[in-house]
Symmetry: C2
Subunit: 315 residues, 2 copies
């Protein structure tokens, strides 16, 4: 059955459920949701567009729905916060199967449940491409707030896990290369690093999630913190399978990590004193001098100045 | 200059400004915005899609931006609340002129300023159609909350102003009919009825904004309040210019009001005792019997049963 056959009223009935959280006074079904809050509130929004952020050839509808939630939880995690409530804005082609939409919601519910968050409102409309715009609120204690603007010269730059899966997975699908199931799954089913973020938050000076590639995120932290950085290329953690994929694709795995994006690991800066309290891969340092250098141990020279303009052109 | 020529970093710089409201601890530029709240919070989201909600042939970019804000303020108004903070999610084609995007933001700023609300975050991505997804928060005292689910049998059904401009304006543009400047302007520049809503809130039993046509909104109120309604067709307020437009277009002006939508006036139900405290056009009554009837004085008979199914097919 197509969406145009059942209409908005019935479609909303199919995907609505009553909120359980007592802080929700009014959920889905009125002009706005109503919530009671005591703590500081976080608000973030992120959008998935068919063709740009997912391709229905590779992604199941459950994976699309799940990704829409994970990328927003990733933003709340990067602030050191706890995700709470979701608003979902869907724009859908008329001839989309109702079952496809239900499965998108199955994916959203599955991820929401994992993080104990609830869908309390939203909106549905027509479009040519599938677009899922998600707004997520979160809660935070001020002392745990991990912003982009507090990196200090001398801080270590650290990532929470391996990078490059996002781009490698995409390239494997694009070039129709078989195998590499783990890499592909990491691309299709990215996960927010909420647990890691909550453990890190009390110890780090600055934090950001890696949605647009490590290079771009380092640039964000440096720009907001008014400092620079030096990165050691070979210290950037990359899984052996991503390296193998890059080799077959005749591409550079470090380009995947630096400019690829969609990895949703955490990038953070941490002082020497606190380095003992954190888990992660140290790959660089924050510097007073406001440029960003990428050094290679192998070649013992600066590979790239990577100033702001360079970044804005490559990412 | 095209968007693809300047990149996301520069584009965000062009459209960012520092929040003035002291409740905003972190605004645009981090993974999420941070706000301090004391009162009950309202959350709503609404989406404008090129081709569906606006056509760039008729709408200026300022009007597009302004409409994106007004339709969300309209939702907060319909809850009896005061709008506060905005998140803007933009999906834009690569070859869009940067100037066009700046003008969309000019429209958003203009409307935001009018209601004393601020843009505190958002997101930007690529798409084939222009898509603007807006999330708006609001504040409310619990006693002013005007939900859809509290209409009582015997309540008068009232609208806050003339209907039909939205559909009439669209049809005039579609059929390339000259003149009718007032109707066209009402279509291009819809306004949220925030002032009216705040005056009404203490006196009404239920309230909703008219975004999808009067018929659909009456249905929402009846469904949520578990009641029915009788509507008197000729009591539905329609401007003489909308009637003239309908005549030229050989269409029914009451169809515009009932099924057209995009008028953004308020629909509310109010008890006999409170009717003296409100301004508006009475056009019907809430009934215990759970169907919706449209009566015509002229023809002295039921014109239409307008049950749930009928509505869901026409709206």
């Amino acid at each position: 059955m197509k969406i145009k056959d059942i209409g908005e009223f019935e479609l909303i009935n199919l995907i609505s459920n009553k909120p359980k959280n007592k802080e929700v006074l009014v959920g889905i079904g009125d002009d706005a949701a109503v919530i009671k809050t005591k703590k500081l509130q976080l608000l973030t929004t992120d959008c998935l567009i068919e063709g740009d952020h997912f391709n229905s050839k590779w992604f199941s509808p459950e994976q699309i729905g799940s990704k829409a939630i994970e990328i927003n939880v990733s933003d709340i995690a990067a602030m050191g916060g706890i995700p709470k409530f979701l608003l979902i804005s869907l724009a859908l082609p008329n001839n989309l199967e109702v079952d496809f939409v239900k499965k998108i919601y199955d994916g959203m519910w599955k991820s929401s449940k994992k993080y104990d968050i609830e869908i309390i409102g939203g909106n549905m409309t027509h479009s040519n491409q599938i677009m899922i715009s998600v707004t997520l609120t979160g809660e935070i204690n001020k002392k745990n707030l991990t912003l982009r603007n507090n990196a200090k010269p001398g801080d270590y730059l650290v990532v929470s896990g391996n990078l490059g899966y996002g781009r490698a997975g995409l390239r494997l699908f694009q070039e129709n290369i078989s195998g590499f199931d783990k890499v592909k799954k990491k691309y299709l089913e990215p996960k927010a690093q909420l647990k890691k973020a909550l453990k890190l938050a009390p110890f780090v000076n600055s934090m950001i999630d890696i949605s647009d590639g490590l290079g771009s995120e380092v640039k964000h932290i440096c720009k907001e913190s008014k400092c620079g950085a030096v990165l050691y290329k070979e210290k950037i953690p990359i899984d052996i399978d991503v390296k193998k994929a890059a080799k077959i694709l005749n591409e550079d795995e470090y380009d995947y990590a630096l400019y690829g994006g969609e990895d949703f690991e955490l990038l953070f800066s941490v002082s020497k004193n606190n380095i003992k309290n954190i888990d992660g891969y140290i790959f660089g340092k924050i510097t007073k001098k406001r440029d960003i250098k990428l050094k290679s141990f192998k070649e013992k020279k600066n590979l790239d100045k990577m100033g702001y303009d360079h970044f804005s052109n490559t990412v």
